[in-house]
Subunit: 340 residues, 2 copies
DNA sequence: TTGAAAGCGGTACCAA
DNA sequence: TTGGTACCGCTTTCAA
């Protein structure tokens, strides 16, 4: 048995297909007798008819959906972004098509192709492997296809980015001022370029404070909690032990906190831990985590706004939205332990 | 400027639309000269042509995608489910269309309509507000449209469910055996019916142990960390104070752990905390959380398997997959504190 | 107030 | 080996 079509409804109601279309879409510019209308609606209900969005969209141009691509479902930072996009997009009557790429370049390419193939009305992208999609996205954008990149502004399209420089400098200043000189950095990101500026500021801040950079304190890890845990274990085994750990995101910080706990160290007396993102959980960890807030929800809703604006005005000049990250100091950071 | 169509490619390559289609789809049953093929491919590259999935799917029936609907992005349990679905589905060459409903009945209805309207080849649903969609889903299923429900088997469709009864009985036995008699229950779920059996077992276990049920120890909270935090605060202020807290999921447990910490209580010496789901983070919290593992990844991949099977055999009898939850005891539970 | 028919961008059959 | 064309389900003029 197949799903009912407009024709089935028309037949059952004894009207033409056009009339069905008018009724379904509540076209106020076209006058329909109440009798006709209710005959159609009855038929719709009886058949459980729902219009085929593919056909609708094929015929009328728009798909009434925006596509969102995120790198990794496991990182809570991304859910807030998704939430921000979703709320904004739905408020404006659009559907959201969400895909994640599991930090896998091949999957990123495929899901991106899937999204563009479905002809969503706009694309919001958090790309981890930019190079591979660059030309095709540029092409799209050149044809006035709405594309918004999030967290990256190297493409010639609308973009919203978090600027981490100031806040990273602040967190480093915060740690340095507390007397920390050996600051481990857990740097677990999908693609290194995405967070280079944070790495730069880390190194610059140390240099400015006259502290030589110890490469053995920088640990490149994977994106899972377990990776953060192991990275922290490695860093804690350095001698002399670092007195502070800076973690690239809250999710990995959970693993780091665990390693710290297992090592029998107290926070913040024996060691300080700080991270990035300030996701919902940061304030609720034990102790509450000092974190650099990047405000995913706002990022998401700004990106969605840019996308929706461009759908309406395909030719308006490219816009860039910057959102400044801000340091939130909580209980996980404190004065450096004296000579251990 | 519009996106290029098959016709544009055909014109540029000097061939017919049919030929373009053959080349694009790598049809081995149709012989194409190498010269023609490369002319077409050149044109495709030059125009950055990508076929319109709506049109393809309209014509050929299948959309090559399965839709997944989850209630809440914030609960990590769901991401593992998503991951399981996504991996399985992509391995089989399908795209995944993911939507979340933010535990909002209206949104659930809308997103569900969006998914069915797009004529995905199968629907995998974690419904929170079942009643409202029941008739339309039944209709769909009656027409051999592949629908799989997850976490609920009350619809007459394929389903995969976690059976919590045994494991809930085990966690209760575990707590009772440790001497806990006042066991608070933080019950923050989207829709209460979804977890009634866990509530039943909670009450039955207490009754069987001869412990009267104190309704003031059951706290119905919302789904956010903050809700879990506040619920725990309320429970901790009861007199006598509960010596153990059972939390409906790991996410809320984070909030509960925070409340416990702020109250100056030690885990597990002063109070025990246990929860459900055993998501990735449970083992990494401080202390590691005793949790009932529901194995989201397996749930997801089983659901996807059911869906894919039904796509292939629309008429095979309905299947139900049960996955038994299992208790994982960790450091957050211990003997009840003596007379406080 | 309603109906007939063209066309959105593909696929697949039948002819050439 | 390639091209012509009907048709997937819908929207939207244009006529009736």
């Amino acid at each position: 048995m197949k799903r009912p079509t407009q024709t089935d409804v028309a037949k059952l109601a004894g009207v033409s297909r056009a009339t069905v279309s008018y009724v379904i879409n509540n076209r106020t510019d076209i006058a329909i007798t109440n009798g006709t209308r209710s005959r159609v609606l009855d038929a719709v209900a009886k058949l459980n008819y729902a219009p085929d969005a593919r056909a609708q969209s094929l015929r009328s141009g728009g798909s009434n959906a925006v596509g969102l691509l995120i790198p990794d479902l496991h990182n809570p930072h991304y859910w807030s972004i998704v939430q921000g996009v979703e709320d904004t997009v739905r408020e404006n009557g659009y559907d959201l098509l969400l895909t994640s790429t599991s930090l896998n370049p091949e999957r990123e390419a495929r899901t991106l192709a899937g999204l563009t193939g479905r002809r969503v009305d706009a694309l919001i992208l958090i790309l981890s492997f930019l190079e591979q999609s660059k030309t095709s996205l540029t092409h799209l954008a050149a044809n006035a296809y709405p594309v918004v990149t999030l967290g990256n502004a190297s493409l010639n399209v609308d973009a919203v980015v978090t600027t981490y420089r100031t806040a990273t400098a602040q967190i480093m200043a915060h740690l340095l001022q507390l007397g920390h000189t050996r600051i481990g950095f857990i740097f677990g990101v999908g693609s290194k370029e995405l967070a280079t500026n944070r790495m730069e500021v880390y190194e610059q801040s140390l240099a400015a404070a006259g502290i030589p950079i110890d490469k053995s304190l920088i640990d490149y890890s994977g994106p899972r909690i377990e990776d953060g845990y192991q990275a922290a274990q490695r860093l804690l085994s350095r001698t002399p032990r670092p007195t502070a750990l800076l973690v690239i995101n809250d999710w990995l910080a959970i693993g780091a906190l665990r390693a710290v706990g297992e090592a029998g160290l107290r926070l913040p007396e024996d060691i300080s831990v700080a991270s990035f993102d300030d996701t919902e959980m940061a304030a609720f960890l034990n102790p509450p985590l000092t974190s650099v807030r990047s405000n995913g929800y706002t990022l998401g809703s700004e990106a969605a706004t840019l996308a929706l604006e461009r759908i309406r005005q395909p030719d308006r000049p490219i816009r860039r939205v910057q959102i400044e990250a801000e340091l939130v100091v909580r209980g996980s950071t404190g004065p450096a332990a004296r000579g251990q």
